[in-house]
């Protein structure tokens, strides 16, 4: 092998009698390489399925998160809210309203007396005090006696107004 090949030998070495691969070898390689291509297809499909499943799971997690979120917020707000403070504003007593009426000036004074009278009648059933207040109201504004309001006036107010009207009529006749 150590001898230099002659030019003719070189031609023979580089132009061998080449036999093509057998059909069996060709078929075997085709089957194996096609199998690799096929597995690539399945791999691709598998990746697609995994991606879709991941998207689905992400959607489910998002929905769960959104559902849970209001509860979390409610808990947080309840923790930070101060205790409820109930402020009771006591209603003004009829007597206090009457005292306010005494200090008021006409024509507002008549209205406040009427309010005090109504409060005595409806809340305390104190008809004497109610009568006193109604009289003071009609004294403060005599024109109120000329107009009877069946919707707002109670029986005592109406009776007083009628009485005042009669007194006025009688005074006119006497004169």
């Amino acid at each position: 092998m150590s001898d230099m090949p002659a030019p003719d030998d070189l031609e023979a070495l580089l132009t061998p009698n080449l036999m093509p691969a057998s059909a069996a070898v060709r078929g075997l390689i085709e089957r194996r390489s096609s199998g690799a291509v096929r597995s690539r297809l399945w791999l691709r499909r598998g990746r697609l399925v995994v991606a879709l499943a991941a998207c689905y799971l992400a959607g489910m997690v998002t929905i769960d998160f959104l559902r849970m979120r209001p509860d979390i917020v409610t808990v947080g707000v309840l923790r930070t809210l101060p205790e409820r403070i109930v402020v009771v504003i006591p209603a003004e007593a009829p007597l206090a309203v009457e005292l306010r009426a005494e200090q008021a000036l006409p024509p507002e004074q008549a209205q406040v007396y009427f309010t005090a009278g109504k409060r005595y009648a409806t809340e305390a059933g104190d008809w004497d005090s109610a009568l006193r207040c109604y009289r003071n109201a009609l004294d403060a504004d005599p024109k109120q006696a000329e107009r009877i309001d069946p919707d707002n006036d109670d029986w005592l107010t109406m009776a007083l107004k009628l009485d005042r009207q009669k007194e006025k009529e009688n005074a006119k006749h006497e004169n």
Partner: protein, 181 residues
């Protein structure tokens, strides 16, 4: 087929194979098998058993690495030849290692019986694997493809004198490497 058409077609086949299209792969395989087979057999010095092993490994590597193939850089056939060249070099290296078996008493023994004819073929394969790429290309064009000097010069867009000179240098290198060791 023009170069642009080849690139367009091979790009389509590549995409189809990457998408798992078996028919596209078979088309490519059927078109390229005979040429690659002849090349591999020539590179293996006509050793059919070695050529079969190399062919199988080359196609399996190609199908696994088809994503790396860039049609605009060269033809599929050239890409396959590149893979086959690498596979042949690895196989020959392994064969050489396996062939030299050192016995326990230090004697170097041959792993399998070799005839002169087979040894000569193996030697051709080894020498071709050692030659630089441009020497291998001109020897291939001349002895495997059977082209004339003028045809090679036209195809390579080179002068006749230059191709003749390259072939002479390639033959000298082959002869030199063959006679070494």
């Amino acid at each position: 087929m023009s170069e642009a058409d080849r690139v367009w077609r091979e790009r389509g086949l590549r995409e189809a194979v990457l998408a798992g299209d078996e028919r596209a792969w078979r088309t490519w395989y059927d078109e390229s098998f005979a040429a690659l087979d002849a090349y591999v057999a020539w590179r293996c010095g006509g050793l059919r058993d070695l050529a079969d092993e190399v062919l199988q490994e080359t196609w399996l590597v190609a199908v696994r690495r088809v994503r790396d193939f860039q049609p605009d850089r060269g033809a599929f056939q050239a890409w396959l030849r590149g893979i086959a060249g690498g596979v042949i070099r690895n196989r020959l290296r392994r064969r050489q290692r396996d062939r030299t078996v050192v016995s326990l008493n230090g004697d170097v023994a041959s792993g399998q019986p070799h005839t002169d004819k087979r040894e000569r073929k193996e030697r051709v394969a080894e020498v071709l694997a050692k030659l630089p790429e441009h020497y291998e290309a001109v020897l291939r064009a001349k002895y495997l493809d059977g082209k004339t000097m003028a045809e090679i010069a036209t195809e390579w867009n080179d002068s006749l004198k230059s191709v003749e000179s390259l072939l002479t240098r390639a033959r000298d290198a082959f002869r030199q490497t063959y006679s070494e060791e």
